[in-house]
Symmetry: C2
Subunit: 250 residues, 2 copies
DNA sequence: TCGTCACGTGACGATTCGTCATTATAAACT
DNA sequence: AGTTTATAATGACGAATCGTCACGTGACGA
């Protein structure tokens, strides 16, 4: 009754495989120069099959973005294992985010462009839902830490403020620095701005603005960042060094 | 010796005209659906002529973006006329930025997408230089106010920090909120985040983080925002109301 | 009036996207 | 084993769009 069927699992597996191939292509070219035809040429599947998975090129982009966000999530989880104050762990999240960005600059572009309206407009509903879940999960991880901080008294939630606003403030400040600095090609530099430094600056300002203890003038967070990086992300630091783009400490 | 010449001035004028036509098209469609062919159909010039002005579609996008930034600059200048503290005037800049964004949501998308690597890659050098100048001018306006604050003692520049970093921190936090909230289509909402509220929150956090006086717990900035909006941007507020997207005060 | 040369034009080749008619194939059945 | 059958895979194709370039046009000087 059902000849030549493909199981859901096989289908999902193949989707992952295609996404990985696409990510591989991006590494050498750029998200912009990636075309469906190139992907078809590089993958052991035909165009029709690929369009079974992604309803459009943008849908593929968003799928790549979602995969990246899942990867980032894993790093976040590792970061949250840092033994320190709640604020230390937020710093650790920033470290992990930066490390990922530096490890995969081409992929980061994919994540950035995935936030453009064209991608949102041309992606499948399921993919968009998945994307929202990914974003939600990342924010949730930050949210848990914020809750902890409130419970321990390190952070006092301003009375007229929603809980999610704290997450959003932190996330958006990090996003802004990332987007502005990384979008500039090598051709034009945005002053002498350094991704790592400005990101930590934004983090510090936002958290100090909340009065999240210990404040940055009570503690040397540069030291904390070094400790986090070496304790949790030493392998990644080594890779970055080998890539010629070492993590820059203050 | 030179038959049928076009002066530089005429050329520049025509460029402005074409950009305005393109902006008009964007209003009804979207930056993504804007094609050169549509522009050619809408403009009294042929494709060849248009390609005399813009070396690529992306170059046109960046030109639109630059025009928008010049418009924003004018609003910034108006904002800076606000009679108050230096921090009040930064708040005024945020108000003007938000008002522009709400007045021209479609154009804002153009500005956002103009920051994607594809646009940077395919634009002419001149256009990129112009873009950098626009960005620089906007930041410079903020920079002037920061200097004033330092001179009056409202702000103490952290010893290990460059002057430009203050500007960048403020600008990137504003950018992040804008990019994250506006990039979400109507389909998917990012929690109950409100552009105006989160923008002012970010602004307050960053400036409080710097210890920029008067701090937000010493003064009701919601009141200041209302004052700024009504004193300087009442016509725009009325327009927004008519558009059905009123400026949202806290 | 005519020649010239910069400017304007839009047809065209080249890409790339996404579809769909056709082919291949594995399971079920005889 | 051979046949049937429904589903999956394929890639040729039409449509859309980009950017170019060979040709047309017209203002000005001679």
């Amino acid at each position: 009754m059902s000849p030549r069927t493909i199981t859901d699992k096989e289908f999902a597996q193949r989707e992952i495989e295609i996404i990985e191939i696409a990510r591989g292509l991006i590494e050498f070219e750029c998200i912009t120069t990636l075309t469906i035809d190139k992907l078809v040429a590089a993958a052991p599947y035909s165009k029709g099959t690929i369009y079974k998975h992604f309803i459009s090129k943008e849908d593929l982009f968003l799928a790549i973005c979602n995969t990246c966000m899942s990867e980032i999530k894993e790093l976040f989880i590792r970061a949250l294992a840092f033994n320190g104050s709640s604020r230390d762990r937020l710093e650790a999240i920033m470290v992990s985010y930066l490390i990922w960005a530096k490890l995969h600059p081409a992929q980061l572009f994919a994540v950035l462009t995935a936030h453009s309206p064209s991608v949102t407009a041309c992606s499948s509903d399921n993919r968009l839902i998945e994307h929202n879940q990914c974003e939600h999960q990342l924010m949730e991880l930050i949210g848990v830490e914020i809750n902890l901080a409130i419970n321990t008294g390190d952070l006092t939630l301003p009375p007229d403020m929603l809980f999610e606003q704290v997450t959003f403030a932190y996330w958006s400040a990090a996003w802004g620095a990332m987007a502005l600095i990384m979008s500039k090609g090598e051709s034009i530099k945005l002053e002498p701005m350094v991704l790592e430094r400005e990101s930590f600056t934004n983090s510090r300002l936002i958290l100090d603005g909340f009065g999240w203890k210990p404040l940055s003038n009570e503690k040397d967070y540069n030291q904390t960042v070094r400790k986090i990086a070496h304790e949790i992300f030493q392998p990644e630091l080594d890779t970055l060094l080998k890539m010629g783009t070492p993590f820059i400490f203050n």
